[in-house]
């Protein structure tokens, strides 16, 4: 029983000798399995359809971002953060920009904060849309997923209008945005705010009181708050267990303190709770975006970055035509500007939980050390222990509702 995976790996799970008659079978779920939505391998010991024990093997798309980051200037690290949680890249981008701004002590204008809040909440919606849509697919309901994908497409069109990219956005700069939102972008946001609520309502109507869905999800993967905290869970799955920890409320960044929103919490922490909670968070995100759009009307127009020429990359047309911009461009790119020799930890509420950046700076043009606290990595370690005793099909929907993103898991 023990030699069921290849000899090359010391990750071979050590099972108790609980199978004297050889009834148990081994199932390699993954690395590329259509039901796991990403590169995840779980070696499961099965008793019929029930999981006896399992081991998660990760690292299939590890790209050594932390090492690469040590060799890149600050403004080039944004593209690395894109590729962590690619379902909500803008949150990662903004989190990184804010980390550097915290290090450099840059005070952002309110208008930039609100623009950032809009972008971050839109991407939180895309993140939750994917997760809940896929959860529907895994429980056998495909149509809800299609409705939601259309709305995600609309959000991606907004991102496209703001920064030109859709998935790996590289949105914004250190010190603000590279350009102001144009009128089309604002019009698209307004249109989305009007069109999205009925769709989300219809989606909820499809699932929330659906008997098949409730019986399939309720009670599956239930976690109590003590265990969740012990495993350092964060984000929607922690809140579904009843702990009201949300970085946006606990340590407001980017002027989240100006907004009126609620932190929904669940009670049992099962798959159904997580589903309902993510839907509720989307409603709250919509509320925040609406408020931000209102607040933007009171802010002076045309401000889209802080006045920090020594850190904010000037636009190219100015670099080519303007002496001062050329000098600053040169100084930023060549790393001529002194930065404080200190360390900073900054956390934002990503789609999956607390996304932290621990940056140790030695004053050079690259970070001395940069560590990403990746919520997917930390949330996923409970997956194998909590799968014990589950049916295989329950383990599949449990993984969907944890919303583990392979890029963030492996960094």
């Amino acid at each position: 029983m023990s030699n069921f995976i290849t000899e090359t790996t010391p990750n071979r799970p050590v099972y108790n000798d609980n199978d004297p008659q050889g009834d148990l079978s081994t199932l390699n779920l993954g690395p590329t399995h259509p039901a796991t939505h990403g590169v995840f391998q779980n070696v499961l010991q099965m008793d019929g359809e029930r999981i006896v024990s399992g081991v998660s093997t990760i690292g299939y798309i590890h790209r050594a971002f932390e090492k690469i980051a040590e060799h890149r200037p600050f403004y080039q690290i944004t593209t690395l953060t894109d590729r962590m949680n690619y379902c909500s890249s803008p949150i990662n981008n903004m989190g990184w920009h804010m980390t550097v701004e915290k290090l450099l002590g840059i005070e952002m204008p309110k208008r930039v904060d609100y623009l950032r809040v809009i972008v971050m909440e839109l991407s939180r919606i895309t993140d939750h849309l994917i997760c809940n849509g896929i959860l529907g697919v895994d429980t056998g309901a495909f149509s809800g997923f299609l409705y939601l994908m259309e709305e995600r497409e609309h959000i991606y069109e907004i991102f496209e209008e703001i920064c030109g990219a859709r998935l790996t956005t590289n949105i914004g700069r250190i010190g603000g945005f590279e350009r102001d939102f144009n009128d089309i972008a604002f019009a698209k946001i307004e249109k989305f705010l009007a069109k999205f609520p009925p769709v989300l309502k219809e989606f909820e109507a499809l699932f929330n009181r659906n008997r098949i869905f409730i019986e399939r999800t309720s009670g599956v993967g239930a976690v109590d708050p003590e265990t969740a905290l012990n495993y350092s869970w964060s984000g929607p799955i922690l809140r579904a267990t009843g702990v009201d920890y949300d970085v946006r409320a606990n340590e407001p960044y980017s002027s989240y303190q100006d907004f009126d929103f609620e932190i929904p919490v669940g009670t049992t922490g099962d798959v159904y709770d997580r589903f309902i909670l993510r839907n509720e968070e989307m409603w709250q995100s919509l509320r925040i975006i609406e408020q931000a759009m209102e607040k933007l009307k009171k802010e002076p127009k045309g401000i889209f970055h802080a006045d920090v020429p020594e850190f904010y990359l000037p636009p190219k047309e100015k670099v080519y035509n303007n002496m001062e911009a050329l000098i600053y461009h040169f100084k930023i790119v060549m790393g001529e500007v002194d930065t404080p020799k200190t360390e900073v930890y900054h956390a934002v509420e990503g789609g999956n939980g607390e996304l932290g950046f621990y940056l140790v700076n030695d004053g050079g043009r690259t970070p001395y050390r940069l560590h990403f606290r990746r919520p997917s990595f930390i949330n996923y370690q409970m997956y194998a222990p909590m799968s014990r005793g589950m049916l295989l099909s329950d383990a599949i929907i449990n993984m969907s509702s944890l919303n583990i993103i392979a890029g963030e898991l492996d960094a």
Binding site: T8, L103, L229, S232, V344, R365, R373
Partner: protein, 164 residues
């Protein structure tokens, strides 16, 4: 709860063993020794006022020029008081051993495996200290400073070409 209060409490309990306290960007940071790190973490977690019950992160930083070159960094969070704290322990590369935190938090398991994987820090007492992200037959610890990202003979990206 103010940082000063936490610092006073720690110094009252551990005295000289709490060194180099600082507050970069309002986050209380201090160093302690590898001998008492378990007690410090246990105290921080179980003290009825501090309640640092949430382990945010474990990672390491390599300073090759220091005598104790490997710094293990713990980020803890007291959700009830909404305060964070950073604890550092420096250990030598020749014997990079430190007691595990998995006895306090289950969540420390993968964080310590990751730190072991990249820095080779031996978390004594860890239930399954094997590589997690890198390939299993790797022999080096790639996040240490001596391992180059690219061809070490390449000079076009050296700092002195950038005026430093």
């Amino acid at each position: 709860m103010a940082n000063q209060e936490i610092k006073d409490k720690l110094i009252a309990k551990f005295g000289e063993q709490i060194t180099a306290p600082s507050e970069p960007f309002g986050l209380l940071t201090f160093e302690t020794s590898v001998n008492i790190i378990s007690e410090v973490l246990t105290f921080l977690k179980s003290d009825t006022e501090l309640k640092f019950n949430y382990l945010t992160d474990i990672t390491a930083v390599h300073y090759p020029e220091k005598k104790d070159a490997l710094g293990v960094v713990y980020h803890l969070h007291s959700l009830t008081n909404n305060v964070r704290i950073r604890v550092k322990v420096f250990i030598p590369t020749s014997n990079p051993a430190i007691p595990t935190a998995t006895t306090l938090w289950e969540g420390a398991n993968w964080m310590e495996r990751e730190t072991f994987d990249f820095f080779g820090i031996n978390f004594v007492g860890h239930p399954n200290l094997v590589r997690i992200l890198n390939v299993d037959n790797m022999t080096v610890f790639p996040m240490r400073r001596e391992y180059q990202l690219e061809d070490p003979n390449r000079v076009d990206k050296k700092d002195y070409f950038f005026g430093r």
